[in-house]
């Protein structure tokens, strides 16, 4: 008795929302949640088969559960490389013309170990994760930095 009343209410809501055209994810998700709830009820009142087919038809092609999470866009090797180069160009002790992908900080660009520490700190700030000391001492070219960040962030090659 209560199930029949509930089924009636659900059916009317679903019919009203079916008149709206697709496009809004909210109604789609609402319909999807409705579909999941009244799928259970349809088992109970399968005697009214004719009326349920309408709902099944609606729900058939367009059951898409949409959930939106907040996250940064996924990193690619290109984007990591661009960002690393951008940060390095902003550093005032580096000559932007001489900067290549494989230019060594100490040998080619004439920087110091203190400068290298500062550069790695700037990279940490840029990408938002910490680089431990032991690893940070070994990163001497931009290519190595890109490789390390790609390793840490699981970016496909």
């Amino acid at each position: 008795m209560a199930s029949r009343a509930l089924a009636h209410c659900v059916r009317s809501i679903a019919r009203a929302s079916a008149r709206l055209n697709e496009g809004n994810a909210l109604t789609r998700s609402a319909r999807a949640s409705l579909v999941s709830t009244h799928r259970a009820i349809s088992l109970m009142s399968c005697s009214q088969g004719t009326r349920w087919t309408e709902l099944m038809r609606i729900s058939g092609p367009s059951v898409q559960l949409c959930r939106h999470y907040g996250d940064l866009p996924p990193l690619t090797l290109e984007s990591i490389h661009d960002r690393v180069m951008y940060v390095l160009k902003l550093y005032d002790k580096i000559n932007p013309e001489k900067l290549q992908k494989a230019s060594h900080f100490m040998k080619d660009l004439g920087l110091d170990s203190l400068d290298q520490v500062e550069i790695i700190m700037a990279m940490e700030d840029e990408f938002g994760f910490e680089i431990p000391d032991a690893e940070a001492e070994k990163l001497m070219t931009p290519a190595e930095i890109v490789q390390y960040i790609a390793d840490k962030k699981d970016v496909y090659e």
């Binding site: 110091d112 170990s113 203190l114 700190m121 000391d133 940070a136």
Partner: protein, 118 residues
């Protein structure tokens, strides 16, 4: 006591500067103090770059440690000022000047070693 120790000390100072909050909690004070910490670390580390004998290196490392600890404890990155030693003001004549200089050098605290007061 080695190169990597000094570098990790530098990194530690920079990391402290990244997350520093001033005691007054005003944003412009926090900003000023962060910039001060970075700038001070840079100048002092560069100034003492060429020193090679192990005693001085050890003393400068201890100085850096002392300044970090004092700064974190008092929430104040500026060096703590200290008094002149007693009988520390003399004239420009020879003997007393030398005694004064010796006395001042002895009385200078550890965390002010890199600073050069007249």
């Amino acid at each position: 006591m080695s190169r990597s120790d000094v570098l990790s000390l530098y990194r530690r100072v920079l990391r402290i500067a990244r997350s520093w909050q001033s005691q007054s909690a005003l944003p412009q004070d926090t900003d000023t103090e962060r910039k001060y910490i970075v700038q001070e670390a840079r100048t002092l580390f560069r100034q003492n770059l060429k020193i090679t004998d192990p005693e001085s290196v050890k003393r400068y490392i201890e100085e850096c440690d002392a300044r970090i600890e004092i700064g974190l404890h008092y929430r104040n990155p500026y060096p703590k000022p200290s008094y002149l030693p007693p009988m520390g003001l003399a004239t420009q004549k020879g003997r007393k000047l030398r005694a004064q200089e010796r006395l001042r050098k002895q009385a200078k605290p550890l965390y002010l070693q890199s600073h050069d007061e007249t």
